[in-house]
Amino acid sequence: MSSAVNPPVAFTQDELDWVSWIDPLPEAELTERHYAGLVDRSRAKSEYFRLLVRDPEVLEARTKTDKDIFYNVADGLPRAERELAAAATSRYNGCIYCASVHARFASTYSKRRDDVQRLLDAGIKADLGERWNAVVKASVALAATPIAFGPDNIEELRRAGLDDAEIVDVINGASFFNWANRLMLSLGEPST
């Protein structure tokens, strides 16, 4: 919170900072209970995680949920498409910070940086090919309130080649970002 905040005005794949609006715990005050909540000790360097660690039990459970949904690629949906679901959800909800991180991951794992950028620039209606379109559309339908996800989304994902386990990865990844977006958007703001 030292330097001036310079909020981005467009979606980007560039790396952004995130600045808290309320006080994170100072690193010097963290106890072992807090470190358990952070899961990775290195997260003590992050203002965002030092804010969330004010409730360590919730943060620990949330972090472990997040990691398994996105990093457990022993089977199921490729990482690139889990990241696409996260990026599409963030684009639709309007979380510039979350979209930047997960668009970058989607680009890294898919090698389709231009398509990812079109999602950010043109929005959720960008034509990214059948398979990605189905993932984006399902993610957006899940993000709507009331929830608009229905049998048509399942059928589209199946036609695009996803099996039930991969569809559950889309549901988990997109749903998780309805959690993440709301924290990132409401407790602080991005800065370039």
Partner: protein, 205 residues
């Protein structure tokens, strides 16, 4: 784990079913979605956000998503909470006042301004405010913002909550609770939809 898995219960996933096996492949996520629920609703420390406040916000937030087994579950949870029965009708009335479609809201001024979408700026009814109290009224208004227009959130919202008597830690816990429910209600909806499509297929074949 002694408590039954809440997502399985709400989604109607039976032990030994196809979806049970699929969820088992993400065991850490399954167990920690459950731990998230337990740490929010059966916390070891409820000093910053009371159990009644948690139940009231949960009934409101899930109710705003429309009728569902999840909304019914949290409405019952509020009814069963100490002091909750007195809040039920008030919360029901606020859900009716607050129902709309999202996400909407504004972006920082610039190229995204063309995507700004106007919508309901919900405020608790003046008649209900004295019964709800300042703390709960402030947090219901913020919960509505988190559900429908999270991109409208601003630093000033934090001051409103702090002025209404919320601690910084209370704001974190409360925000986690609303955001977690946004996740949980969607996972349940998605899994139920998938199960229904599969059941329909089986019945047809």
């Amino acid at each position: 784990m002694s408590t039954q898995d809440i997502i399985d219960t709400l989604a109607g996933i039976e032990p030994g079913s196809v979806l049970d096996a699929i969820r088992a492949r993400r065991l850490q996520a399954r167990e920690n979605a459950q731990k998230s629920y337990l740490s929010l609703f059966e916390p070891i420390d409820a000093s910053d956000v009371s159990l009644l406040e948690r139940a009231a916000v949960a009934a409101f937030v899930t109710g705003l998503h429309g009728e569902s087994p999840v909304a019914a579950f949290y409405r019952e949870k509020l009814a069963a909470s100490a002091g909750g029965a007195a809040l039920l009708e008030l919360i029901d009335a606020e859900i009716a006042r607050g129902k709309t479609s999202g996400p909407y809201g504004s972006y920082p001024a610039g190229p995204l301004s063309v995507e700004n979408t106007a919508g309901l700026i919900y405020r608790v009814s003046a008649a209900s405010k004295p019964s709800l109290g300042a703390r709960l009224a402030a947090v219901l208004e913020h919960a509505h913002l988190l559900v429908f227009r999270p991109r409208d959130a601003a630093a000033a919202d934090m001051n409103v909550l702090l002025d209404a008597g919320w601690s910084t830690t209370g704001i974190v816990t409360f925000s986690q609770l609303v955001a977690f429910l946004a996740f949980q209600v969607r996972v349940v909806s998605g899994l139920r939809t998938l199960a229904a499509v599969n059941a329909h297929k089986e019945a047809a074949s």
